[in-house]
């Protein structure tokens, strides 16, 4: 009786002798897993965690505490959650509070909790795309933000952080190497290493396009075209383009003109545009607001509906997947794993498959879904919670802006360091010019120069950053990424310690 199920079929692979499997060891782990790497949590962090252990056990080190600037994790660095969000969360999860002690909460928090609970009990699996009430809130938000019509709530998927949606998207785009495909995705360099890790894991080809550092990390369509041409010459079928706007780690904000050209490029070359827009509320300049790719597309007259599958794509049709998250902005609710992806120009047949992928894990966590709703639909002006909400929002954003400026200025003052302004997001990505003797030391130790720099930085100061090689950089250039999330009252001390370390390092290797 046939009980072996495999869609790819086994005939091609008979050259590998079957027999007793070897033990599951590193050698026999799936190669794609071994190849994937995710630098945000790499060797520098491992060292930092060991040093933290040593501090905790009472050992005396040149510093009293670790300062984690390696990851955009605001609430671990004393940023407080929004009051309204946590009020609603406690009410939706503890019905007794709602029934007996609602007097402890503002009336709008109570009303919102009742609305969500009326739609869905927190402990139940929801619809695999997410609670409809929340998706309706997301759709309304998108329409309002973009000053256009709202998308269909059924074009929205609520997900465990934006990362999960990226995985579904790439999983559906990259066809298996085993079946003879050689699919790839255009990814910015430097990039947030989720994209490289997932592409590797899915056995796809990462096709890099380089952002222009000296021009403020801009994205030139000419560079995209060149990268695409080279990839095709190598036999790669490029299927998608990832754009991170505002950029991570680079912080730049794209102009409308730039975005129009990118969209035209995608339409012309048949690429799915994957718009990572999780930092859309982290913008630190006054003369520019956030423009979503969706907004630009709609303004260009591109339709959100894909129409029937059989209908071919005409000149003007964009396929776009946009991502947002509760982890960033001024909410910083990283641990709750909330976010959404919005489909634009994606045919129903594809959407059904994305739905199926989502359904295998049943649904994303309901707390994250509710918080996504609270993010897109905050207290409105005139409601009891509005003053507190608005106060918290402004305070956090202005503080982020101050810290961004302080960090950029401080880094720019260091010898041999050049840094582009952080227009948005939460990071700075300074470039290091290091003495030849330091490079020689790195080579000797079998480490990359930026990684060695970051290791020495942790050892000397307790400041934890991520080497630029984890994000990709032009060959021969060296960077590191730091967040500007440490609390304001620590920033001066951080800048001072960093400056001292940097000078001492340069002095030591000046030769």
């Amino acid at each position: 009786m046939e009980a072996i199920f495999s869609s790819i079929g086994l005939r091609r692979f008979l050259h590998r002798p079957a027999g007793r499997a070897p033990k599951w060891s590193k050698e026999t782990v799936n190669q794609d897993v071994l190849n994937a790497s995710y630098a945000v949590r790499g060797p520098v962090l491992d060292l930092a965690m060991k040093m933290e252990e040593r501090l905790r056990s009472g050992e005396s080190l040149p510093f009293k505490e670790m300062i984690y600037c390696n990851i955009g994790n605001p609430q671990s660095l004393q940023q407080k959650p929004l009051t309204f969000v946590r009020q609603v969360l406690s009410l939706v999860t503890n019905p007794l509070l709602l029934e007996k002690h609602s007097d402890l909460f503002p009336s709008d928090a109570v009303a919102r909790a009742q609305k969500y609970l009326g739609a869905h009990p927190m402990g139940a699996y929801s619809n695999s795309q997410g609670i409809k009430t929340v998706r309706e809130e997301v759709a309304a938000f998108i329409g309002k933000r973009d000053q256009t019509f709202s998308p269909d709530p059924d074009a929205i998927f609520l997900i465990n952080g934006a990362s999960e949606g990226v995985r579904y998207g790439l999983q559906s785009l990259l066809r298996p190497r085993l079946a003879g495909y050689h699919d790839g995705v255009l990814v910015p360099i430097p990039q947030y290493p989720l994209y490289s890790a997932l592409t590797t894991l899915l056995n796809g080809e990462l096709v890099p396009y380089y952002l222009r550092e000296e021009e403020g990390w801009t994205l030139e369509v000419g560079d995209l075209e060149e990268a695409l041409k080279q990839a095709r010459a190598r036999g790669v079928t490029v299927r998608g383009l990832v754009v991170i706007n505002p950029g991570n780690p680079t912080g730049q904000l794209l102009s409308r003109a730039n975005m129009e050209k990118i969209i035209e490029f995608c339409v012309r070359e048949n690429l799915v545009l994957m718009a990572d827009e999780v930092y859309q509320t982290n913008i630190y300049v006054d003369d520019r607001g956030f423009l979503s790719f969706r907004k630009v597309a709609v303004d260009m007259g591109l339709p959100p509906d894909a129409g029937p599958e059989e209908q071919g794509m005409n000149e003007k049709h964009l396929q776009l997947v946009s991502f947002h998250s509760v982890s960033k902005g001024f909410m910083g609710e990283c641990g709750l794993r909330g976010g959404y992806m919005e489909l634009f120009g994606i045919p129903p047949g594809v959407k059904a498959q994305l739905y199926k992928l989502a359904s295998i894990s049943l649904c994303s966590n309901t707390i994250g879904q509710v918080v996504t709703g609270l993010m897109v639909h905050p207290p409105e002006e005139g409601s009891p919670s509005f003053p507190t909400y608005e106060g918290e929002r402004t305070a956090t954003l202005t503080s982020l802006r101050r810290r961004a400026q302080k960090l950029t200025a401080g880094l720019g003052n260091l010898e041999g360091v050049s840094v582009q302004p952080s227009t948005g997001a939460m990071y700075s990505f300074p470039r290091l010019s290091l003495p030849p003797a330091f490079h020689a030391e790195a080579v000797k130790q079998g480490t990359k120069a930026d990684e060695l720099y970051c290791i020495r930085l942790v050892e000397a100061t307790g400041i934890v950053v991520v080497p630029g090689s984890g994000f990709g950089q032009v060959d021969g250039s060296w960077h590191f990424r730091t967040t500007f999330l440490p609390p304001e009252d620590k920033m001066d001390s951080v800048m001072e310690r960093l400056g001292k370390f940097h000078k001492e390092l340069l002095d030591a290797y000046r030769g």
């Binding site: 009980a3 692979f13 590193k26 605001p74 406690s90 695999s128 396929q319 794993r337 049943l362």
Partner: protein, 488 residues
């Protein structure tokens, strides 16, 4: 301008995405959702989703969670009036251990405090503890399963032994990872028992087909089948997996749903470690658990866990790396899992209510399992094994030839045909057996035992009426057996 197909169109999707299926939310579920949209009643018995059918959460768990999500409540002067002392103490303990609160990414393996709670739970349950480094908290047990399979499957030449019938996460995940699912049939007539000769057969056939079997899944208590394994069964599994050099994957998410005393739950981990050398040190075992099932039913929180026993350290490192790509599992789910495995103890303020809530739920589930099994067995053409554990009933239906012909004419598999008719007539939404795989020529459907007791008898009556009428239509007789109707 020549029209060209879209980049992302159905045809250009990877085959394994198109072919993988997850029937729990498949065709029947879609039909049911359409019914809801049309304003008609549907009773969702397609998925083990207790709170979705009115089950209430355990009070203690949600009280602690409310404080953890809104720490300012702890500062409120009235907090002691509203929350019991032990609830407040637990919330404070979590806040102390996670200074960033639930809004910060945790370690990619999960908060150390919760992992320690799980390790302590393993010590109490199995007599053998664990190190927190071997414990991964995940968004539901499903994510942990996916993590393990990702690292095991290099291509279709790698296979995983999976029971038939199975929970379709396994078939779907293996498909998506381009691996091979190697089915081993459970023996229905003896209560879906394990058959070691059948296991050997499965491995032999796989080898003959060029598939190297690397892992073996077993589900205890079974889903959809509901059987509980004996200690002897587990010893056999341990020996079998060790002999064939398989990673044993123990899906034990229903360990708290046990409705008989002949075969109480025994964990694979306990058995392997009790057997001594070479198994205790040599068998690679991954254990899965969750807050979604048991009597807690906190599905929406996605709180799962995996423990690795005897794994190569560098393999565990690679799994850690995989977990870190998604940064961290959701922290609320972690807290819920911690509260599940480390609840109030006798003497604590909340204990009496907590113990009573749990016991009441367990007793109710047991009664519902009994009622539904008896009801199915009273029907002509239906044979239903005991629901010894878990949350489901998986009766076998034998359809009259006329029904088989009608199904064929409708282009549906007979079990799908039956389930659609059941849905249309009664609003009861089930999952056809083909979604779980079954022996060729046999047909089943899965229902849960989760609808509330207050509605249960009514649902059973509706089903019995439907089945009678169905059999009458396709057989031309009254179609109902002489067995007594089930009573709660």
């Amino acid at each position: 301008m020549v029209a060209q197909p879209r980049v992302l169109n159905y045809d250009s999707l990877p085959d394994h995405v198109k072919h993988c299926e997850y029937a729990v939310r498949g065709e029947l579920y879609r039909a049911a959702t359409e019914r809801v949209a049309a304003g008609k009643e549907v009773i969702f018995t397609n998925v083990g989703n207790p709170h979705g059918l009115g089950q209430k959460p355990i009070t203690f768990i949600r009280q602690v969670f409310a404080l953890v999500s809104a720490p300012f409540l702890l500062e409120h002067p009235d907090v002691h009036r509203i929350f019991p002392r032990d609830v407040i103490a637990r919330a404070k303990a979590y806040m102390k251990a996670a200074p960033g609160g639930i809004g910060a990414y945790s370690d990619s393996k999960g908060l150390p405090i919760v992992r320690q709670e799980f390790a302590d739970f393993l010590q109490r349950r199995d007599g053998f503890g664990s190190d927190i480094d071997n414990i991964f908290l995940t968004n539901g047990a499903s994510e942990a399963v996916r993590l393990g399979l990702t690292a095991m499957l290099r291509g279709p030449q790698d296979g995983i032994l999976v029971p038939i019938p199975q929970y379709p996460l396994y078939s779907a995940a293996i498909e998506l990872l381009s691996g091979s699912m190697v089915g081993y049939y459970l023996h229905e007539e003896s209560g879906w028992s394990l058959d070691f000769e059948e296991l050997e057969r499965a491995v032999r056939d796989a080898k003959r087909q060029g598939v190297r079997v690397r892992g073996m899944v077993f589900i205890n208590p079974g889903n959809p089948t509901g059987q509980c394994l004996s200690r002897q069964d587990l010893e056999g599994l341990v020996k079998f997996a060790y002999k064939h050099k398989l990673v044993l994957m123990a899906d034990e998410v229903y360990q708290d749903n046990i409705y008989q005393t002949v075969r109480p739950f025994v964990s694979a981990r306990h058995v392997a470690l009790s057997m001594g050398a070479p198994y205790a040190q040599g068998l690679e075992l991954a254990t899965f658990h969750t807050a979604s099932k048991g009597v807690y039913g906190e599905c929406g929180f996605r709180g799962g866990v995996m423990e690795l026993l005897n794994f190569d350290e560098r393999v565990a490192d690679e799994l850690y790396k995989l977990a870190s790509i998604n940064l961290s599992p959701n922290v609320p789910g972690q807290v819920i899992l911690g509260l599940m495995v480390n609840g109030p103890r006798p003497g604590d303020e909340s204990y009496a209510q907590y113990a009573r809530e749990k016991q009441d739920l367990l007793d109710s589930l047991r009664r519902r399992a009994r009622a539904i099994t008896d009801a199915f067995n009273s029907c002509e053409g239906i044979v239903c094994q005991e629901t010894e554990g878990a949350m489901y009933s998986f009766p076998k239906i034998t359809l009259p030839p006329a029904a088989m012909a009608a199904a064929k004419a409708a282009g549906k598999s007979p079990d799908v045909f039956y389930c659609l008719k059941l849905l249309e007539t009664t609003g009861i939404s089930t999952v056809p057996g083909s979604g779980f795989k079954q022996r060729d020529g046999t047909f089943h459907f899965r229902t849960t035992i989760l609808p509330p007791e207050s509605k249960f008898q009514d649902i059973i009556q509706r089903f019995l009426a439907f089945h009678s009428a169905f059999m009458a239509e396709y057989k031309g007789s009254t179609g109902h057996g002489t067995g007594a109707r089930a009573r709660l």
